[in-house]
Amino acid sequence: MRRTVPLVITFIAGVAMIVSFFVNDGTVLSVASSKVKEWGIIIAGFAVVLGTGNIVRVTLHKAKRGEDRPFKIVLLVCLFATMFLGLFFGIDKEIRSTWMNFGMFEREYNPFYWIYFNIQLPLGATMFSLLVFYITSAAYRAFRVRSIEAGILLTTAVIVMLGQIPISSAIGADKVMAWIMVVPNVAAKRAIFMGAAMGIASMSLKIILGIERSYLGGDS
C-alpha cells in the first residue's frame, strides 16, 4: 500500500501524459488522457496551498522562538492580508461579482490589484535590479583573462553589453552582438539542451517505469 500504490499512480499519470501527446482524436483514450492532464493542474493547485501552509508553519515556528519576531509577524500579516483580499475580491483590476462578495463591490478598484501593482511589482523589480551591483562586482573580482577560454568569455560578455546601449550601432557592436547571439550562443545552447534532454528523457522513463523511486522518500 505504501510502496506499490504510489508506483502505480506514477505509472498511470506518466502514461496518460504520453498518450495525450500522441492521441488527440476525440476517442475515449484521448479524452481520458486529457482529463488526467487537467487533474494534474488541480493537484498542482493543492501543492501551492501546501507550500503556503508550510511558509506559515515555518514562520510561526521561528516567531515563537523569537527569531526576528517583528519581521515574521509582518510576513504573516502581509501573506494573510493579500490572500484574503485576493480570495474575497478576485484577482482582476476591477472587482467583479464573485460568490464571496455577492456583487457588493462590483466595478470598484480592487485592493488586491493595488497590492500587486504597488507592492509586489516594485519590490520584485527592485530586488532583481539590486543584483546588477553584485553581479558586476563579482565579475570584476572573478574574471581574469588567464586563458584563451576566459578571454573569449570576457570579450563576448563585453560585446553583448555594448551591443545593447544606444551607441552600439555607431561602433558596430550591435551587428557583432547579433551574430554572437545567433551563432555561437545558439550552437552551444543547442548542444547543452540536447544533452540535457537525453538525461531528462531517460530519467522520466525510469520514473514512469518505477526504476527510479527516490522521490518517494527514504524507506521506499
Binding site: R2, P6, T10, A13, G14, V15, F22, W39, I41, I42, I43, A44, A47, V48, L50, T52, G53, I55, F71, V74, L75, C78, L79, T82, M83, L85, L87, I91, W114, N118, I119, Q120, P122, L123, G124, T126, S129, L130, L131, V132, I135, A139, E149, I152, L153, T156, A157, I159, P184, A187, A188, R190, I192, M194, A196, A197, A201, S204, L205, Y215
Partner: protein, 235 residues
C-alpha cells in the same frame, strides 16, 4: 482628487517609492528597513500566488464543475462521469496535507507520485519533440548556397552553427579520451561554450541594468516629478 490622482494612487506611489528605497538600502549594508521590505515581499508574493491559484485553478477546474453537479446545473453531454471523477484529484490534492500528520504522512506520497509521474510523462514527450527532434532538425540544414540566403548565410550562420553543435557535443562525449582530433574538436567546443556563457552573462547584466534604470525612472519621473515637477520625463 489631488494633482490629478485619487488618494489610493497617491498612497500607491508613496508605498512603492518607500519600498523601492528600502530595498536599495541593502547596498549600504543589511539593515532592518531592508529586512522589513524583504519580509513584506515574501508575504505578499505567497498570498498572491495562493489567491491566483484559487481563482485560476480551483474555481474553473474544480469548484464550478462540482457546484454544477451538486446543484443540478447544466452539464455537457458525456461529461457527467468525468465531473464525478473530479473528486479523485480533489482527494489526491487533499492527501498532500497528510504530511502534517505523523501517522498518515505516507498518504501524501500518492499526490506526490501523481505530480512526479505527470511531469515525467510531459517531460519525456516534450523534451523529445523540442530538444531531440526540432533542435537537430534546425541544425542539420541543407548547406547548398543556392537554397536560402546564399554563401553569406551558409558561411556566417548555418555552417558555424553545425560545426559548433558538433564540437560542443564532442566536448560532452566522455567515452573517448579528449586527445588528437577529438581533443581539438572538444577544445573548439569549449570556445563555443565560453562564448555562449559570456553572451548569457552580458545579457543578464544588461537585463538587470534595465530593471535598475526602470526603478530610477519610477522614482524620479513618476514619484518625484508628481510632487515637484522638477524631473519631467523626456518627451
Amino acid at each position: 482628487m489631488l494633482l490629478g490622482l485619487v488618494w489610493y494612487q497617491h498612497l500607491g506611489l508613496w508605498v512603492a517609492a518607500i519600498l523601492t528605497l528600502a530595498i536599495f538600502s541593502f547596498l549600504y549594508k543589511d539593515n532592518p528597513v531592508y529586512k522589513m521590505a524583504e519580509h513584506v515581499f515574501v508575504g505578499v508574493a505567497a498570498g498572491y500566488t495562493l489567491a491566483y491559484a484559487f481563482w485560476s485553478t480551483f474555481i474553473p477546474n474544480l469548484y464550478r464543475p462540482l457546484a454544477n453537479l451538486f446543484s443540478g446545473g447544466e452539464i455537457k453531454q458525456g461529461e457527467l462521469l468525468w465531473t464525478w471523477m473530479l473528486l479523485i484529484p480533489a482527494l489526491l490534492g487533499m492527501l498532500f496535507f497528510a504530511r502534517f500528520h505523523p501517522r498518515f504522512g505516507w498518504l501524501s506520497r500518492w499526490s506526490i507520485a501523481f505530480m512526479v509521474g505527470a511531469f515525467a510523462g510531459l517531460s519525456l514527450t516534450g523534451k523529445f519533440q523540442t530538444d531531440l527532434i526540432l533542435q537537430p532538425a534546425a541544425t542539420f540544414v541543407n548547406l547548398n548556397p543556392a537554397n536560402d540566403g546564399g554563401w553569406n548565410s551558409v558561411l556566417l550562420i548555418n555552417l558555424p552553427i553545425l560545426l559548433g553543435v558538433l564540437a560542443c557535443l564532442t566536448y560532452f562525449f566522455f567515452s573517448k579520451p579528449h586527445t588528437g582530433f577529438i581533443g581539438v574538436t572538444a577544445r573548439t567546443g569549449i570556445f563555443f561554450l565560453m562564448a555562449a556563457f559570456g553572451a548569457s552573462f552580458g545579457y543578464t547584466v544588461m537585463a538587470r541594468i534595465s530593471l535598475f534604470i526602470g526603478r530610477l525612472q519610477f522614482l524620479f519621473w513618476q514619484v518625484a516629478n508628481e510632487y515637484t515637477h522638477l524631473f519631467p520625463p523626456p518627451t
